[in-house]
Amino acid sequence: MKEGKMIAMLLAGGQGSRLKLLTKDVAKPAVPFGGKYRIIDFPLSNCSNSNIFDVGILTQYKPYQLNSHIGIGSSWDLDRPNGGVRVLPPYTNEQGGRWYKGTANAIYENLSFIDELDPEFVLILSGDHIYKMDYSVMLDFHLEKNADVTVSVIEVPWEETNRFGILKIDADQLITEFLEKPKNATSNLASMGIYIFNWKSLRDYLIADEKNPDSENDFGKNIIPNMTVDGKKMYAYKFQGYWKDVGTIKSYWEANMDLLSDENTLDLYDRTWKIYSKNKHLPPHYISADAHVKNSMINEGCVINGTLENAMLFNEIHIEKNAVVKNSVILSGVVVEEGASVYNAVIMENVVVESGTKIGSPDSEEVYLVSSTNIIKS
């Protein structure tokens, strides 16, 4: 009855080990970002705003905070009585427990989940990227091209092509070649790890792939190349807009600082495409007569008595008198005591930066990651 249904499967199992302490207790999709979000809020909000209300989240690594963040999905309007958001960890059967072996295997292990939802299309997403995208427009493109697979791509700087899966396309946007992290790329269109598959066809490939003991059970490495070999019609959908993979501490810090820049293209204030997150029921923040606040973002429950410049503050942060925070990201619950100064840093949750402490320097480009036990230079 309903128009060709699309469900989303969101791969949120990544450990993100290059983010170091930030992912010590949480999976990468649960890493806080942009003053009040976690990274996974972006793809989840995109789904909700694109009218996709069936979302499976494949977790594996330290899912506890992620589970607690997602809850029943009400923040993203994904708390539907049927369908809605569903967290899908690995499970046991008669043969014992099995962990997900790769991205494709994670989907394979949940065949029965998808079959019950009975979709025509499956959208594969990653929980690692920050961007705003209307997946229904990508589906329109997929339908228009009558494609077997559509891969969302973005132009990356030529010097970074060796970090990505690169695609070559013809004039009709049909994909002609697939190169994993090429040294001398002849295209700068990078795969964003976002795929639309026709479910019936993907289902067959997943079953075949699972039977192949040599496969790494990965979309980029196995499924897509196999489909290419079979001559399936694969199209590239060109995405334009802000897109960032925050793979390292430095790029994490940069992505946060991007939001404070005049040239920022990730508009969080657009009411037609809100990014949703779990709400904390905190009062507004308070800025005292002693404070100086400039070019900064501040979330609820903060009390500011010191100086902020180019600062991204999460919630319930206290900046005491004569404390200085510049070019920094301050996670929830941090206290920067009187006279302390923080430059070019990411301060982790609930850290107390004691009176007189100096972190970083206005003259250095280095970025510091500060936990209650450690300071890591990046």
């Binding site: 942009g34 003053g35 009400s74 990014i275 949703y276 709400n279 507004p284």
Partner: protein, 378 residues
């Protein structure tokens, strides 16, 4: 508190609130940057462990329905207990304006009758406070009384609390009578219009009033009967702001700028819960300068703000000077606007260069969705 049913009575005198209550009851007035007046009493009840709450509205129903919905933000969206909203009914065959709230309570007495709870907590919404009802309830139960009245000892030099209920004790400190404050004493015991009543006593009072026809308001009926019952009183020691005049509303907002009051109102007995709006953090731009202000999320501020309460999603352009003002949600203040002692209601728009100045005793009020432009300009 499981054995106590909460009842919030919105029959409040709006006539002294001017344009602010033209289309909403006092209970729905925005306050403190992101709340409505009713959020305080609702949250107090929920935070004290009351799980069944009836809200009896006046005639302005729509804003109440919009805000309360199914009660989800207060965790009152339940199969058993939860939130019940009772609106006045209209009999068009014999149309006449009903005076008072007594009939509404009588019409809906089966709600109270079939509730499992043996005790009732009646409260108006206009007394802003953060109160733990457990303490008062426990004292009431131990006293063996039929009715308990919560009161606050106030010093009222400026006659701000005229018209509030005033409690008198005899020389032994026993409850003697209750009347209306005409300002004869600077120090007096102000009723907070929160009553605990035994269910059986409630029905005696209600039926007696309906049969005798000697009361239009439930409060009147209770007062008529106080001499028949054992009355207990409980002193509340936290901060209380009655929101019954424009001046008191203005002062309550300004009071929150004092950090001890803010802590008391927002944190002392649990968080104040309200409907979630999914706003990003507030962005302070290059020219922002903010002093002693309480700022909610979703704002973009590039001007000067002092001693003010800024609600969600407000835009303040550069060159603006906003002082001693209350700016409600989604108001749009364009370049070079000067405001002093001003209340901008929701979605008001103040065009470039406008200057508005009110007085602390009588602030300038711009009504909801008003557009204010300099004369002769568009």
């Amino acid at each position: 508190m499981k054995n106590c049913l909460g009842i919030i009575n919105m029959s409040e005198n709006d006539s002294t609130m001017g344009a602010l209550t033209q289309n909403r009851p006092t209970a729905m007035l925005p306050i403190a940057g992101r709340y409505r007046v009713i959020d305080f009493v609702l949250s107090n009840m929920v935070n004290s462990g009351i799980t069944g709450i009836g809200v009896f509205t006046g005639n302005k129903v729509r804003s109440v329905m919009d805000h309360l919905g199914s009660g989800q933000p207060w965790d009152l969206d339940r199969k058993l207990n939860g939130l019940f909203v009772f609106t006045p009914t209209y009999d068009y065959h014999s149309i006449h304006r009903k005076i008072g709230d007594l009939e509404l309570f009588f019409e809906n007495n089966s709600f109270v009758k079939y509730a499992k709870q043996d005790y009732l907590l009646f409260s108006k919404s206009y007394m802003l406070a953060n109160i733990d009802y457990n303490e008062a309830f426990k004292a009431f139960l131990e006293s063996g009384a039929d009715i308990s009245i919560v009161y606050k000892k106030v010093k009222d030099k400026s006659n701000a609390f005229l018209g509030c209920d005033k409690i008198h004790f005899d020389d032994d400190g026993v409850f003697e009578s209750i009347g209306t404050n005409l300002g004869m004493d600077i120090e007096f015991n102000m009723s907070m219009e929160m009553y605990f009543i035994k269910k059986s006593v409630y029905f005696e009072i209600l039926y007696d009033a309906v049969e005798k026809g000697n009361a239009n308001y439930l409060k009147q009926a209770i007062f008529n009967n106080l001499d028949k019952y054992k009355v207990h009183t409980h002193e509340f020691k936290g901060h209380v702001f009655p929101i019954n005049t424009i001046k008191n509303y203005f002062n309550a907002n300004m009071g929150i700028l004092k950090s001890d009051i803010e802590k008391d109102l927002f944190f002392s007995n649990g968080h104040i819960l309200t409907k979630v709006k999914d706003e990003p953090s507030t962005y302070y731009k290059q020219n922002a300068k903010v002093k002693n202000s309480f700022v909610a999320n979703g704002c973009i501020i590039d001007g000067y703000v002092e001693n003010s309460i800024i609600f969600r999603g407000v835009k303040i352009d550069k060159g603006c000077i906003i002082r001693n003002s209350i700016v409600m949600q989604k108001s749009d203040i364009q370049e070079n606007v000067h405001l002093n002692y001003v209340i901008l209601d929701k979605r008001a728009k103040v065009s470039k260069g406008v200057t508005l100045i009110g007085d602390p005793s009588s602030p300038y009020i711009a009504s909801k969705k008003a557009t204010i432009t300099r004369e002769g300009e568009q």
